[in-house]
């Protein structure tokens, strides 16, 4: 049997696609039950594990969570058995502990006040993992379960199912202008500045920071890191920076906009195009009023939709340019195919399946599609896979490696310069879009 065929069950990228589509098909055929998640809690930590129906405690999530662990273990173990990268037994032991650490991270993140602060599970999962790896060290049997790239890629394939193109015209041309003109300009500017201006050696880190700043923070960072096969430490650094600045921008931008007496719609569009996470965008937008909140949320949503395009373009660019040996001629199509991260195709395929087949089959009722298939299964599992990934990244990272990637502060300089450029350009384009070209659009 040729090596090409063997990669279908040996290659991690393909297994991310198989896992993703097994889950998607299971969700569509209703074979996969509603996936449990850690609920909100305020004063009593145990409330996070209670199932509340119509304000009454209807049960708890402990058994469903146990079944989730069993289900994911079986699914992943099948892949491990074929890939033969780690012994299956070791993987199972490690995965169980990583799952428990993910539950712990989610449990912290679902506390009400922590949600108000905008501190997502990604941050807590990283901290928990880093805490173990930089003190007692991550034992080898635990590392066997830390299949970071597999969790990220599987989560990204499932994320594709949530990219529904239908609503990108909610704000009309001005929304598209802000989201789709500014974003590629900022990505390219930041990457060029990093490579030519700052002379950053780590191109992967540069493109991840550029993507996180210009597109939509953590999710863009994850997709880009996977597309360019970046090291985990690069993702940790970029995510850490973006999480901190997201909270700072959420706090200070609405104040600045009010102080400047800026038009609320313009302010909402500005924040939507610059604050990195949608939750923080909605929170900040709501400070300016309901109209600004809606505009901010939709601009950020339109940017989020670009994740797939970004991942695809970065993957192609990396295959054709960055990973090419100096002096080597342009790689041929087969070479590009060989190097191309296949999970990106799974991501695009999932998006197309839902946008072009599932939603039309449900008479265009995307809300029904979301409530029946996406919310109960694919979205929840996507969150679990990303949480597992961030715990695994933390377990595999150490502070010395992270410090060595700081290159004298160049990544921070890149973020600050890039975000400043992003702020200026987004405000300019948003002004043109909402105040000049289409003043009566909203």
């Amino acid at each position: 049997m040729s090596d090409g065929i063997k990669t279908l069950w040996k290659n991690e990228d393909y297994w991310a696609i198989w896992f993703g589509f097994v889950i998607i098909i299971g969700a569509l055929l209703k074979w996969v039950p509603k996936i449990p998640k850690i609920g909100k809690w305020t004063d009593s930590p145990l409330d996070a594990f209670m199932i509340i129906k119509e304000c009454v405690v209807a049960g708890n999530n402990f058994i469903p969570l146990l079944w989730l662990l069993v289900g994911l273990t079986v699914l992943m173990a099948i892949g491990m058995a074929f890939m033969k990268t780690v012994p299956v037994g070791r993987f199972i032991a490690g995965f169980a502990v990583i799952f428990i650490l993910a539950v712990f991270s989610y449990w912290i993140a679902t506390q009400t006040s922590i949600k108000h602060w905008g501190l997502s599970y990604a941050m807590w999962a990283l901290i928990v993992g880093l805490l173990i790896s930089n003190t007692i060290g991550t034992p080898k049997w635990l590392l066997a379960g830390a299949r970071t790239e597999l969790y990220i890629k599987t989560g990204l394939v499932l994320l594709g199912a949530e990219i529904l193109f239908k609503k990108i015209l909610a704000l009309g041309p001005p929304g598209l202008m802000v989201a789709w003109i500014v974003t590629p300009v900022v990505v390219i500017f930041m990457y060029k500045f990093a490579v030519s201006g700052l002379k950053m050696k780590n191109k992967s880190l540069a493109i991840i920071i550029a993507a996180a700043t210009s597109v939509c923070g953590v999710s863009a960072a994850i997709a880009t890191a996977a597309a360019c096969r970046a090291k985990k430490e690069d993702l940790t650094l970029a995510v850490g920076m973006t999480l901190i600045f997201t909270v700072l921008m959420m706090i200070f931008m609405p104040m600045a906009i009010k102080y400047m007496g800026m038009n609320a719609i313009l302010g909402g569009a500005w924040m939507g195009g610059t604050i990195d996470s949608t939750g923080a965008v909605v929170a900040a937008g709501s400070m300016l009023g309901p109209e600004a909140e809606k505009v901010a949320a939709v601009v950020k949503m339109i940017q989020n939709v670009l994740i797939g395009v970004l991942a695809f373009c970065v993957a192609i660019y990396w295959c054709m340019v960055v990973d090419r040996d100096p002096g080597q001629s342009r790689p041929r199509a087969m070479e590009i195919w060989h190097r191309f991260p296949k999970f990106v195709l799974g991501f695009v395929a999932a998006s197309l399946v839902f946008s072009v087949i599932v939603v039309p089959a449900m008479n265009g009722d995307f809300k029904l599609v979301e409530s029946e298939f996406i919310k109960p299964v694919t979205k929840t599992l996507r969150g679990w896979f990303f949480c597992l990934a961030f715990v695994a990244i933390g377990l595999e990272s150490n502070f010395k490696d992270l410090a060595s990637r700081m290159e004298g502060g160049k990544p921070m300089t890149l973020y600050i310069v890039g975000q400043s450029f992003n702020l200026g350009l987004t405000l300019f384009i948003a002004y043109l879009a909402f105040m000049v070209f289409f003043p009566n659009a909203i």
């Binding site: 993140a109 997502s120 909610a170 909203i442």
Partner: protein, 80 residues
């Protein structure tokens, strides 16, 4: 247990204590005084979850999108 190993466990205990302190701090409902805390206080009052990093995770995203579409439709009516 060697001294080195004991130090590592001690670091873990200190780290976990710092994590617990961080969690206690943020779960206490504290907000920075003045303008710096305005957004967080607003989030507390309106119970806004500012943590989702993808639009699909925002609970009321489709209400917001439909609201934006309505705004656009009303603006078009007014313009016509």
């Amino acid at each position: 247990m060697s001294i080195k190993r004991a130090k590592e466990w001690l670091k873990l205990i200190i780290g976990m204590s710092m994590l617990a302190a961080m969690v206690l701090f943020f779960t206490s409902g504290y907000t920075p005084p003045g303008l710096c805390g305005e957004v967080v206080r607003h989030n507390q009052l309106a119970d806004i979850d500012a943590s989702p990093f993808f639009y699909g995770d925002v609970e009321n995203i489709w209400e917001l999108v439909e609201g934006a579409e309505k705004l656009r439709a009303e603006a078009r009516k007014t313009a016509n």
